[in-house]
């Protein structure tokens, strides 16, 4: 313990703090961009699977296929596929793009299921009533169904997002300088593992905790208990 305390000033040197801050920003950025894009895409997929909105069956089936396929691919495998996919295509893109694409592809499939669960939890008779009032699928979705679905969509989506923040550590496998990668580097430089991984533990916690606060805020805004 005393040894750890001795090590502290050296560990939190100017250079190391900057290095960790960059890694933190990288993990946060990767999570936000990946999850954000993934959620938007997943939301679209879930909507396209709704017969009331998308009448054209082949589109519904394609959306279903995407979701069922991508939910079943392990994150690391998907990361490698995207990595080599970009290489094969001859696209020389930054590692951040590779990692964010992977997160987004995976998040889209899982978000689609969370959104679908929410939409389907709203009773069919709400769609019926909207339809007989000539609202049309998208308008019924926006005015009637979604306001009632958010409170079912948000909690599992946020649980998933927090899980994904943690999964971004896998991106260290392809040399993306995110938090876990930073901890490994510092550890290799001779700092004690307890200090390296203890620090990123706190940083991961801060990131996930902020995400939970954001979720709570969203729930209050989008799904007040009134919109039952």
């Amino acid at each position: 313990m005393a040894a750890l305390l001795d090590e502290l000033p050296r560990f939190f040197s100017y250079y190391n703090v900057i290095f960790l801050a960059q890694a933190f920003a990288y993990t946060a950025g990767l999570s936000l961009v990946g999850c954000g894009l993934g959620f938007v895409a997943g939301f679209g997929l879930a909507v396209l699977r709704q017969e009331r909105v998308m009448r054209f069956a082949p589109v519904r089936i394609l959306a279903l296929l995407y979701v069922e396929l991508f939910r079943r691919i392990p994150f690391l495998v998907l990361l490698m596929v995207v990595f080599f996919g970009f290489q094969l295509a001859g696209a020389d893109v930054p590692m951040f793009v590779v990692a964010a694409t992977t997160v987004a592809l995976s998040a889209a499939a899982f978000s689609a299921e969370n959104v679908r669960a929410g939409l389907e939890a709203v009773h069919r008779n709400q769609w019926d009533a909207a339809e007989t009032l000539n609202m049309g699928g998208l308008r019924a979705l926006r005015l009637v169904v979604l306001p009632q679905a958010w409170r079912i969509i948000i909690p599992p989506s946020m649980t998933y997002a927090v899980g994904l923040v943690k999964a971004t550590s896998i991106a260290s496998q392809i040399g993306v300088a995110e938090l876990t990668f930073a901890a490994k580097i510092l550890n290799q430089k001779g700092f004690s593992p307890a200090l390296c991984f203890g620090t990123i533990l706190v940083l991961y916690f801060v990131l996930c905790w902020s995400l939970n606060r954001f979720a709570a805020h969203l729930e209050v805004r989008l799904a007040p208990s009134r919109s039952r």
Binding site: N125, Q126, D128, A129, A130, E131, T132, L133, N134, M135, R139, L143, V144, P147, Q148, R226, S227, R228
Partner: protein, 245 residues
């Protein structure tokens, strides 16, 4: 010419036929009630009329013009003429009573909000709910919710009001408030097609009663005929069983 004419209408849920060869006509200002055992296709008939279920065969004509249920544009026009009130009210749970009534006229028809709101308040007053306009559905009793649903249907100024077992989900003491609201509409000359199990009410309010069984129209006639002198064995049997208690 009758306002609404159904001819040889058939529909099915997948393989199960639910309506076979249904024929029926409703004059303007007339109140036609459909009775029959559960599963006889009464509610399905109303769902077909508003386009929630596509008919497989037969025709529906409104004011002499046949309706093409395969075309979205035609369907939209039909829904402007037919308003339906459901057994389970189907009010939008995320909206107040007032918003439930104003949402379609403002958003779908694009009418000015102020004008629509004044009309909606008048309609809610008419159904006896002027004091509950800001309440959400889950704050209202079943009878109150059903009256909001009737106001919502009327807000679109339909030619024909379709009422699908509107009192079946209500506690007995709440039934009369909804029936009174329907009587009020009848007094205004509203054309209505009513599916109901309230036989005394059907007898009192209808100009014509249609008895359905197994997806078919078995007998049609004035209430006096259906209830006192049915011409078919099925109808006589049904009426006898219903009126016994």
């Amino acid at each position: 010419m009758p306002h609404l004419v159904l001819d040889s209408l058939s529909a099915d849920y997948g393989r199960d036929p639910v309506l076979s060869d249904v024929g029926l006509s409703v004059e303007r200002g007339e109140i036609v009630s459909i009775i029959g055992p559960s599963g006889s296709g009464k509610s399905t008939l109303l769902r077909v009329l508003v386009g929630l279920l596509r008919p497989r065969a037969g025709t529906v004509a409104v004011a002499g013009t046949p309706v093409d249920y395969g075309s979205d544009a035609a369907l939209r026009k039909v829904r402007e003429r037919f308003a339906i009130v459901f057994q389970q009210y189907n009010l939008f749970q995320n909206m107040t009573a007032l918003r439930n009534v104003t949402v379609a006229p403002t958003v779908v028809k694009g009418r000015p909000a102020g004008e629509v709101e004044a009309e909606a308040r008048a309609l809610l007053a008419k159904v006896g709910l002027s004091h509950r306009v800001e309440a959400y559905p889950d704050e209202l009793s079943g009878g109150q919710q059903q009256r909001v649903a009737i106001a919502r249907a009327l807000a679109l100024k339909p030619d024909i009001l379709l009422l699908d077992e509107v009192t079946s989900a209500l506690d007995p003491e709440l039934v009369s408030e909804v029936l009174d609201t329907i009587r009020l509409l009848a007094a205004d000359g509203m054309t209505m097609l009513i599916v109901s199990h309230e036989m005394a009410f059907v007898r009192e309010i209808s100009s014509k009663v249609v008895f359905m069984a197994d997806g078919r129209v078995v007998e049609t006639g004035p209430p006096a005929q259906i209830f006192d002198a049915p011409q078919t064995e099925r109808c006589a049997d049904f009426v006898r069983r219903i009126l016994r208690h």
